[in-house]
């Protein structure tokens, strides 16, 4: 069963309870921020801050609009971080679709940061490993919902089976359209095979207003590097080993007598 998170941005009141619940459950350390003229808690995600409510001030139909959106790991079906990761077992996709980092296998190269089309993973300067939302894999493993979902007081966040949530997202979209939000729609981008974090937006034609990329894709550099170039590299590597082996079998070891080592030869000058 693939599980998912549904974020109905039309119900978010920007209370940030999900941020606090995430910090509390995951025992994140406290970081002092600076006030920069926005109600947003932090300017960006951090290695110890995995869930941010963005307070986007945008213009719609000539009027100022304040749209909130939850910013965290999207748990993509075809995850860019997994495609980019060179360390075996450092990023795993669990049977329920959760993309989780296994920190003991992480080598801290940061390639997943390049591979992520949503710019989510963050490198910790202290441990030199990369961190992000785990969809509370410790909670979901025992049948509890993630901490952010549980605390949400407005029912904006729901957790459950992915197909079921997609159906309820469609129902909600129809409701919104009937209420006059003609642009309402679901954000579940196909470029990454769909995400296990699904949004209902009341203007799905402009996901950028919510801080979401319009057509997220795994960067072509990552695809090339981990696809054809990787196979080519492996072939060259194997070929050189085989070449060395056959060279040894056919020509034998290098003969120092024959080729000579000038620096080892004693000089007999009187």
């Amino acid at each position: 069963m693939i599980v998912a998170k549904l974020i109905d941005t039309t119900l978010c009141i920007g209370c940030k309870a999900c941020e606090v619940a995430c910090q509390e459950w995951n025992d994140q350390e406290y970081t002092l921020g600076t006030f920069n003229g926005s109600y947003q808690t932090m300017p960006d995600l951090a290695h110890n801050f995995w869930n941010l409510i963005r307070f986007n001030e945008v213009e719609r139909n000539g009027a100022q609009s304040w749209v909130m959106s939850k910013y965290q790991c999207m748990h993509c079906a075809e995850a860019g971080c997994i495609a980019a990761c060179p360390a075996p077992g450092a990023i795993t996709q669990m049977a329920n679709g959760t993309v989780d980092f296994v920190h003991e296998n992480c080598i801290g190269c940061g390639y997943c940061i390049t591979g992520c089309p949503f710019d989510v993973p963050r490198l910790s300067p202290a441990t030199k490993k990369v961190y992000k939302c785990s969809l509370c894999s410790d909670r979901t493993a025992v049948g509890l919902e993630p901490a952010c979902i549980k605390t949400c007081p407005t029912n904006c966040l729901t957790f459950g089976e992915r197909d079921e949530l997609l159906r309820s997202a469609e129902i909600r979209t129809r409701e919104l359209k009937a209420d006059g939000h003609a642009q309402a729609g679901i954000y579940n981008p196909a470029g990454v095979g769909g995400t296990n974090v699904i949004y209902v937006l009341n203007d799905a034609t402009q996901p950028e207003q919510y801080g979401l990329p319009k057509d997220p894709e795994i960067p072509w550099t990552v695809r090339l590097w981990k696809g054809p170039l990787k196979a080519l590299g492996a072939m060259v590597f194997m070929g050189s080993i085989l070449g060395a082996f056959f060279h040894y079998v056919i020509f034998g070891p290098q003969d120092p007598e024959k080729h000579g080592h000038p620096e080892e030869e004693p000089t007999h000058e009187a």
Binding site: A17, A21, E24, T92, N105, T151, P153, G233
Partner: protein, 198 residues
Amino acid sequence: MSKNSSRRDFITRSAATGASTAATLTGAPAENASAAHIAPLKTANTTKYTSICPYCAVGCSVNIHTLGDKARNVRSAIVHIEGDPESPINRGTLCPKGASLEEFVQSDRRLTKVRYRAPGAREWTDLSWEEAFGKMAARIKASRDAGFEEKDAEGRTVNRLENVAMIGGCTDTNEINYLLGKFRFGLGILAYENQSRL
């Protein structure tokens, strides 16, 4: 590897290692890691107590998860607080202040000393409780002596004090609030407010 492993074992093992290395290098899909990497549930061995969030008047129920079995030599610690789904008021949800209750109880950033900023000063200083009580008592006494009204302009007995106000916080317990009430009536304070966000 045991000391007695044969040459054949060694070769088999080497070949297996080589094959898996080759598979990794050529992009064969790595097997999904088992669930072993998942962190153990924080609340797996905790005792659960039900309580009420001390902040606003909504009165959400919370479950407090503590570690430690209350043995004589064990000090319990709160590891997690979350909403109580059995409460009809909040049904398991909490607002950001309620969600931060664990910190409210045991954050190392909590103030444990009296802080004082003298009139006109820029800096806060630490005060002992004795000094603080002394200063408060002296100021209340001075204000009360200056502003206490026994009778109003028409000669009616009012026994009121209009130049002192009192503010309570929502995290005060029933007992504290009872005492605050007594204290207020004793002094004759009329302006009394509760701030649910303190």
